[in-house]
């Protein structure tokens, strides 16, 4: 689906990156733990989170993420949104809880990131 589809499904409000809504997303990850995000996510993944601090953006930057969804109506500060725009992110806020947001996206066909532990574990 596209980010525009997500906006519709989540009854979300776009906070930045309005011009990038046609970007396709392949998978989603929901977490407030940045190390989990760093472990499981790839650049085609949407991040759904309740954290709105600068580290969420830095984590997104490390992974070249394209889209972040803030759950439960959270809205980050203006400085965070400016930074997000510079990074080329689409940022939206949904009134739904993280759980419901995930459920709605799953129902609409979006899936989690396949976990590649076994293969990467083999490199240890």
């Amino acid at each position: 689906m596209t980010i525009a589809d997500m906006v519709r499904v989540l009854h979300a409000k776009v906070l930045c990156g309005e011009e990038r809504l046609e970007t396709k997303v392949h998978t989603a990850c929901c977490s407030d733990l940045m190390s989990d995000v760093l472990a499981f996510v790839n650049e085609k993944t949407v991040l759904i989170t309740g954290l709105t601090n600068a580290h969420v953006l830095r984590t997104a930057d490390m992974l070249d993420l394209k889209c972040i969804v803030f759950a439960r109506g959270k809205i980050p500060g203006e400085d965070i949104l400016e930074q997000a725009d510079e990074q080329g992110l689409v940022v939206m806020t949904t009134p739904e809880t993280a759980f419901t947001a995930c459920g709605l996206l799953y129902e609409a066909g979006l899936r989690g990131v396949p976990i590649e532990w076994p293969e990467s574990e083999a490199r240890l």
Binding site: M34, T59, M62, S120
Partner: protein, 142 residues
């Protein structure tokens, strides 16, 4: 000895949450300019962010060293203490002594060290309580 393409040092302050991650962002930018493949770039970025945040969260301050040759990216983290009393425990997924401040920002999953080990081609950690911790990671380019 192989020719050095890039060498950079980044001091990292303890508990400086405002700047935390800036060294890793710069490392990623520099490697991208060198034309490092996106797969390696991503693995270095993840490991670098984890190791940098550990310096901020757990150490008394230290530095990251980046070295690039045509064959390999090497990332070294050195700190001034306090050292890790039980390395086996520290390497375990889910083990964390992160402060409340760190947890409120989204850290403390106890996944950082396992993430580094998983993403690097070579990983070595050495720690002495009262002295400090050194982590050396290698990422093959060729």
């Amino acid at each position: 000895m192989s020719q050095t393409l890039l060498h950079a040092e980044y001091p990292v302050e303890a508990e400086d949450y405002t700047c935390a991650g800036e060294a890793s962002a710069d490392i990623k930018r520099k490697l991208k300019q060198l034309g490092v493949s996106s797969n390696v770039l991503r693995r270095v970025a993840v490991a670098s962010y984890e190791v940098e945040l550990n310096l901020v969260i757990h150490s008394e301050g230290g530095a990251l060293t980046l070295e690039v040759t045509p064959e390999q990216v090497t990332l070294i983290s050195r700190d001034r203490g306090p050292g890790i009393p039980n390395l086996e425990l520290a390497m375990r997924e889910g083990w964390s002594t992160a402060s409340e401040t760190a947890r409120s920002l989204g850290f403390g999953a106890g996944m950082g060290l396992p993430n580094m080990k998983r993403n690097a081609d070579t990983f070595a950690i050495d720690s002495t309580v009262g002295e400090g911790t050194t982590i050396e990671m290698g990422f093959r380019l060729a």
